[in-house]
């Protein structure tokens, strides 16, 4: 029993003398090779594709670039994409806030199941997301005949594109808010209510200031996905030029017609939006850490 004790006492002595050779850090060689490999990997997979978009877009000069963007079909696609985002993002934001309030302020049976169901669209392929709305509202769909009789168009029209985009971006904001409001608890809201504030006032003046950065973060991610969604929208849009083509679908058509410069010109606008998204996202997460 005494022998191990002696050994243990010796250990600090040995280590103190050699504290510099403690292997707590990798050697400089390992460190810089890891940095180099990561840097090369990011360059090859992320930076180079990004640069290539802009280079190809401007390959035939500024005039061709502008002409591809002010083309009526391109402008219609831009307008449609903005319309879809303006409808989808607020709807999912309202749902996200309501669902997060329900899940974090009350306890009830089946809460975990509800959270899983909210996450469900993430596990579904975008193509399947489009398919289910065809099955509901398409010509052979559940409501197809009724819609035809009443002359209402959902699939291959704006409502279908909105529904498919709503489905695909469904969890984004709720998912951002639930963990955030979970950690903030209910005490502040309880104090506000017991002092006589109404539920709405409590939400606006107590909860909202606490969650604003998380909400903004969710809005940005939801918006990025809403304007960029391809698979689901491709299924329900019907690809009618100037009418049901969003920006990603317009890019696909141009690309398949070998109009590469025009395709990359529209793609470059979307890339600028993506870069702005990343910048805002970083500012927001940096602000959120400060608060």
């Amino acid at each position: 029993m005494t022998k191990p004790l002696e050994v243990k006492q010796e250990v600090p002595v040995v280590t103190r003398t050699t504290s510099n050779s403690y292997s707590l850090k990798e050697s400089a060689t390992v460190k810089w090779s890891l940095i180099t490999i990561s840097f090369l990997y990011i360059s090859l997979f992320l930076i180079l594709p990004l640069i290539s978009i802009f280079v190809t877009a401007f390959e035939k000069g500024w005039e061709t670039y502008v002409a591809s963007i002010v083309h009526p079909d391109a402008l219609a696609a831009i307008k449609l994409t903005i319309t879809v985002a303006l409808i989808v993002v607020p709807l999912n934001a309202i749902f996200g806030i309501v669902a997060a309030w329900l899940i974090t302020k009350f306890s009830f049976k089946g809460k975990n199941l509800l959270i899983t169901l909210i996450d469900l669209p993430f596990a579904v392929s975008p193509v399947i997301a489009g398919l289910i709305f065809i099955l509901l509202f398409g010509a052979q769909g559940l409501f197809g005949e009724w819609l035809f009789e009443h002359d209402i168009k959902i699939v291959f029209a704006l409502p279908g594109i909105i529904l498919a985009t709503l489905f695909v971006t469904f969890p984004f904001i709720a998912r951002e808010l639930i963990p955030l409001m979970q950690t903030q608890g209910v005490t502040e809201e309880e104090a506000s209510i017991s002092l006589g504030a109404s539920g709405l006032k409590t939400f606006l003046y107590v909860t909202l200031p606490n969650i604003k950065w998380g909400l903004l973060y969710g809005l940005i991610l939801c918006n990025a996905r809403a304007i960029g969604e391809f698979g689901a929208v491709s299924v329900v849009s019907g690809h009618i030029r100037g009418l049901t083509n969003t920006m990603p679908l317009h890019i696909e058509i141009l690309y398949n017609e070998y109009q590469f410069t025009a395709a990359f010109a529209v793609a470059s606008i979307m890339s600028v939006l993506a870069i702005i998204t990343i910048i805002i996202k970083n500012i927001v997460s940096w602000k959120a850490k400060d608060v």
């Binding site: 890891l34 990997y41 809201e189 109404s198 690309y255």
Partner: protein, 277 residues
């Protein structure tokens, strides 16, 4: 639900339970549950032999192999490089670190179709990168793996990063002071702590890759039996107005991804038990 309603009224003064519950359920049912249930309703309307024939068609089977295989390989690549990038971003200071950290989110922000045409052009035989290789990358399964690797990278980096950030240094110090080399400390002390996050990142990247359509259709070449992914089979059937066939293939895909996610959750649960109990 009535039971839980009553119980809540006794324990909280926060208003809005019935309103938020009603709205959440209504919106969830309208946008997600009712549309998704159509898959099951439509499958039930098929006869068994019809269903079986559709899902075991050689072209469909080839697409399952391709989709699951490429998503799996891309997931593995991402776990390796994603963990390395997370490590580099958390542990080292170097010029441009913040920019790289921000760029990791690019695949989340960039529309998949844009990523698709950019990667296809880069890796095409006469493209910036493709010209350096003797073999074809775009229009082969290799191209599909590249597109899926692009899509999945942030999932792994963003799940491993916070775990690495919160890892306590004491264990590493203890390991080093007991004479372990840095490599031993990494493999035996640090890595096991990261396994759950790595598996979560893998499963997120994998399930996203399995259903991915936008970035893959451009680079895949879409040759039946060779480079045709399962979502494309669904798309083709839809274009031929074969809704029943599309639904059958969709069922296979959905079940496949759920089984794999359950399996990964099970592994994770086993690992958590092993390491923390």
């Amino acid at each position: 639900m009535e039971l839980s309603l009553k119980r809540r009224k006794k324990t909280t003064i926060i208003p809005g339970f019935s309103l938020t519950f009603g709205y959440t359920m209504l919106y969830l049912s309208m946008i997600v549950l009712l549309p998704l249930s159509m898959i099951i309703v439509n499958t039930l309307s098929m006869s068994w032999s019809e269903f079986y024939e559709t899902i075991t068609h050689p072209r469909a089977v080839a697409s399952y192999k391709l989709s699951f295989g490429t998503a799996f390989v891309a997931g593995l690549i991402n776990v390796f490089f994603g963990t390395m990038i997370a490590w580099v971003l958390i542990r080292y200071e170097f010029p441009g670190r913040k920019i790289i950290d921000g760029l990791v989110d690019l695949p989340f922000a960039l529309p998949t179709a844009v990523a698709g045409i950019a990667l296809t052009t880069l890796y095409a035989p006469n493209g910036w990168i493709g010209q350096f290789f003797d073999f074809k990358i775009s229009y082969t399964p290799l191209g599909i793996i590249i597109a899926l690797t692009f899509i999945g990278l942030p999932f792994v980096v963003r799940t491993v990063q916070p775990v690495l950030q919160n890892l306590s240094k004491e264990v590493e110090e203890a390991s080093a002071s007991l004479g372990a080399t840095r490599f031993q400390t990494f493999v035996k002390i640090i890595l096991p702590e990261l396994y759950p996050a790595m598996i979560t990142g893998f499963s997120l990247a994998f399930s996203r890759a399995l259903g991915e359509y936008g970035s893959v259709v451009f680079i895949a070449g879409n040759m039946p039996m060779k480079t045709e992914i399962t979502p494309l089979i669904i798309m083709t059937k839809l274009e031929q107005y074969d809704y029943v066939g599309a639904t059958a293939i969709a069922i296979v895909m959905l079940s496949g991804s759920f089984i794999i996610l359950l399996f990964i959750n099970f592994i994770q649960w086993r690992m958590n038990r092993k390491f923390y109990h």
